[in-house]
Symmetry: C2
């Protein structure tokens, strides 16, 4: 199968623009795709590259990989509060494996369709397996009544808006992907159903797109914490020139498999307890959002989170004092011994 047949068979679809109002004026099939942004909006753009052996194992289910490759990009749009529009896919493949392509594209398009996000172009080439997606979303601009055509204040959620006194929240649960990874690595052993649940979170993360959009005008800052909570929170602190205090007991409740790890007796093995906190704080590969909001908006945060059908947990606060502090159940300082994921460290 040639390059154009491959695109035609697995990645080109019937014209979807006709099916609904679309900002995509031209999709796959020319030198460029064309987007027609609406007045009073900005285009949010993010790009992520997934490499075999680094971001996923060669044994991963191709449909799950198709899902994940798009999910990690949708998560970046979510962190900015953007509405997904479209994406490009550049794919380097060692060979044409039709079963793999069928699986990959089905997982990719299932998630794309769920978010109304259209594949508008890209590239295919032969080489070591590499998946690069660039994604486009729409964010409204807050404009004065007599608006200039360009300019105005963005409504995108950025890293730089956190204020001392703000609450610090995390969406969903953390640590599952790391639990699954540790099972693969053989450092822990868990019952099959716990592993299956954790692995699903690793392979098919849920980008918090609805929550991100709902938080526009509510959250003062937000970030996707896929490199680990502590490290990614550090980007908010640096950009906002603030510090933060995290209540580790509150953070620990974020782990989805908590009930298993505490054991049926209700007591926690101390080694597992320590690991568990590390997985929450710096496990990585969780596609959740950390965000900040004023305490006066606690009810609003609860309401929009409920509306977005996404649980959120308040785990700390933003301080004027720089630095990140961890505080235990009894107010004692907890040493921060965890580092964020870094591909080159």
């Amino acid at each position: 199968m040639g390059e154009f047949d491959l695109i035609e068979r697995y990645f080109k679809r019937a014209d979807r623009a006709a099916q609904r109002e679309s900002l995509v004026s031209l999709g796959i099939g020319d030198d460029c795709a064309l987007l027609s942004p609406r007045p009073g909006t900005q285009i949010a753009i993010s790009s992520d590259m997934l490499v075999e052996g680094r971001h996923f194992l060669s044994t991963v289910n191709p449909a799950a990989l198709g899902h994940k490759a798009l999910a990690v990009n949708l998560s970046d749009l979510a962190a900015c509060g953007a509405q997904p529009i479209a994406f490009t896919l550049a794919l380097s493949l060692p060979s044409v494996d039709e079963a793999w392509l069928a699986g990959f594209s089905s997982g990719l398009f299932a998630l794309a369709d769920a978010h109304g996000c259209e594949l508008i172009g890209g590239d295919t080439t032969r080489g070591p397996l590499n998946i690069c997606i660039t994604i486009f979303g729409e964010v409204p601009v807050a404009q004065p009544v007599h608006a200039p055509s360009v300019g105005g204040r963005t409504t995108a959620l950025l890293r730089r808006g956190a204020q001392a006194g703000d609450d610090l929240y995390v969406s969903g649960t953390l640590g599952d992907a790391r639990l699954a990874l540790e099972v693969f690595r053989g450092t822990v052993s868990v019952p099959e159903e716990v592993f299956a649940r954790a692995r699903l979170r690793m392979d098919q993360p849920t980008p918090r797109v609805a929550l991100g959009q709902a938080l526009r005008g509510v959250a003062t800052s937000a970030i996707d914490i896929s490199d680990g909570l502590l490290g990614d929170l550090g980007h908010i602190l640096k950009a906002s020139q603030v510090g933060a205090t995290i209540a580790t007991e509150d953070a620990t409740t974020l782990i989805a498999n908590y009930s298993y790890l505490t054991g049926t007796s209700g007591t926690i093995d101390s080694e597992v307890s320590e690991k568990r906190l590390g997985w929450v704080l710096a496990g990585g590969d969780d596609y959740e959002l950390a965000f900040t909001a004023p305490p006066a908006l606690r009810d609003t945060v609860a309401a929009v989170a409920a509306h977005a059908n996404t649980p959120v947990t308040r785990i700390g606060r933003i301080d004027a004092q720089p630095g990140l502090r961890l505080v235990g159940a009894n107010g004692q300082a907890v040493a921060n011994t965890w580092t964020s994921f870094d591909h080159f460290a």
Copy 2:
């Protein structure tokens, strides 16, 4: 060096938006970048992935590679007549080689700055060397006087507008990249200065950005012919539901190293002559434009090409009859035995 230090040192630059009117509202450093398109415009988007051993040799000069990685994307914008705005860069690197990074980023930014095209985001990861750039350009929309905010006819050059009777043109020269490749392969041998000139065209192609923009409203169709003239022209013919006839004598004059290949005696070795035509028609890796325009606009084409400081050569015409015909100097049919480049064929 960690991932963030690497980005900070080699890819993050002083805020350039302040230096000129920019559509980039937010560049590197958040979950997404933000573009603020102007009313009455569309965003043209293209993505290309370059893989070591496939698109370039490991011995390539890193500055030339930085240039080429962006040039191949700029060439896609040129083919649509778009004005470059910005790009994202996703980079998979086997290791942190600071000399390589310094060279690569210098070549990349030299070309980016020449086109006012800003790096606004991307990704870095460890893995086999892979460079994926997604590029963004601006194209005006032709609108009625009382314009709706969205909609209007695009002014982008597309593949589908060629009309029977149109002239067929190619920009610049063809075949040099293939000549350089054949020297590397050892199938031909040429004097050092000829090779140096050909290699420069292979390593540091010139995207025809100014010509593409100048052809808006003049050309009826256009395409980037990086996979080879015949194959890429085939995309115009298919999209426009037309055929074409190419005068091979006219096409042959497109080769830049023609004077060398004809020999000092002025006679052409028949084997070289045959190769030469193949390199022009299907050599590949030439970042030139093929485009069509009505014969009534010949003077206009000449004027805009001169204004864009880019030579163009008329090599044939568009026919109502489907298919692609090659005609020799005496009107005789020339068999088309060349195939277009295909990564998976």
